[in-house]
Symmetry: C2
Subunit: 199 residues, 2 copies
DNA sequence: TATAATATTGAATGTAAGTTCAATGAATCA
DNA sequence: TGATTCATTGAACTTACATTCAATATTATA
């Protein structure tokens, strides 16, 4: 790859990263192209040299998020189903510090569900990753082995992911908590799902 | 009060209610005055007969929310501090069905924390209600009597309220769950705070 | 009923923000 | 070095949306 191409790629990546942060912190409609340009230290016009439009930028970002969400579970090994959730949380909190993009991505994927201001075809892309239903299956299976609390698996999954979502959203606005490593214990949230308290 | 005044009040209330719902579901920037007008079945111009501006409407709404949040704890009696949180949740879920406004209000108050698109003086109003710090005090006191989990009280409070926030946000987009009374058990969330599992 | 006050509308206005574009500068390559 | 391609900018263009306003209808009051 030529130097030109590399620089182009770096520039795109820079915009991408700043956009993730801003979209996560302020929401789609609240985030102005000018804000992103300023954060990436370039003119507004240049943004359009790298991304066709605000919408396309956001779309690319959502695709990236869906893909990441899809891949993550496959990368994980776990013995008991609860470990799946615990592992996920640990990973989330762990990465949150070094690569806040992952956390921001998570926040954005959540915001999407609320988004009537967001074009339908982008919402469609996001629906690909139905975390709640997928997890509900794991929970249902796990309940038979007594790992999980009793109750409607979908509702448990809903409650767990909504909570994680809420925590991530708040963390996104409180970067100082990340920096000082002041993060919830994974147990606190896993407790929503688990039958017993950890020893 | 004259009939005119009454009707005026009703009209204002209608706008107010529709605005709460839309702001909660779509966020401040995403919600167009035209959307609210359509929901309230009136012309855009008429909205401005009842409310000076979108911002003023939102401000009034936030003031209402802060006041409601302030009053609620005083209305509650509880024996052990955990009951305070459980009572609050029960109330929230209970009202959510009949008066979704309360739930929406809750969602909006949460959105405010994220809001750089929202005028500073409105954010200032919202800061009046620092749920997290207030609850942290109750938690800290309760820890001494063994009701609560060990851990940084502020962080516990943060985690609990973030989770509640997350659940409310999701419920706001899934009204069918409210209607079918498919709601999380309060225990699931109280477990974030409590030392022991309920018998 | 006549007059005043209020309710209501839709079109006009102003503005903020997304997008386009012509012009300039910098890098690449022949 | 000259030509070509890409990077970058700021200003112009456009559109969506908040807000204003003149005109009309409705209701209250004398």
């Amino acid at each position: 790859m030529s130097i030109r191409d590399e620089q182009r790629e770096q520039r795109r990546q820079l915009i991408f990263d700043k956009a993730i942060e801003l979209f996560a912190k302020r929401g789609y409609a609240n985030t102005k192209i000018g804000d992103i340009a300023k954060a990436a230290d370039m003119s507004v016009g240049l943004m359009f040299h790298y991304f066709e439009s605000k919408e396309k930028l956001f779309e690319e970002l959502v695709r990236y998020g869906v893909q990441a969400a899809d891949n993550t579970p496959r990368e994980m090994n776990f013995e008991n189903p609860l470990d799946y959730f615990e592992g996920f949380l640990k990973m989330l909190f762990h990465y949150a510090k070094e690569q806040p993009q992952i956390m921001y991505m998570f926040v954005i994927m959540g915001q999407l569900q609320r988004g009537e201001g967001i074009p339908e075809h982008i919402l469609e892309i996001a629906r690909g990753a139905d975390q709640i239903s997928q997890s509900a299956e794991i929970i249902e299976a796990g309940q038979q082995y007594g790992y999980f609390r009793e109750g409607d698996p979908y509702l448990l999954s809903f409650t767990f992911w909504s909570s994680v979502q809420g925590v991530m959203e708040q963390l996104a606005v409180h970067p100082e908590m990340l920096e000082s490593d002041t993060l919830p214990e994974t147990d606190w949230l896993i407790g929503i799902l688990s039958k017993e308290r950890k020893q």
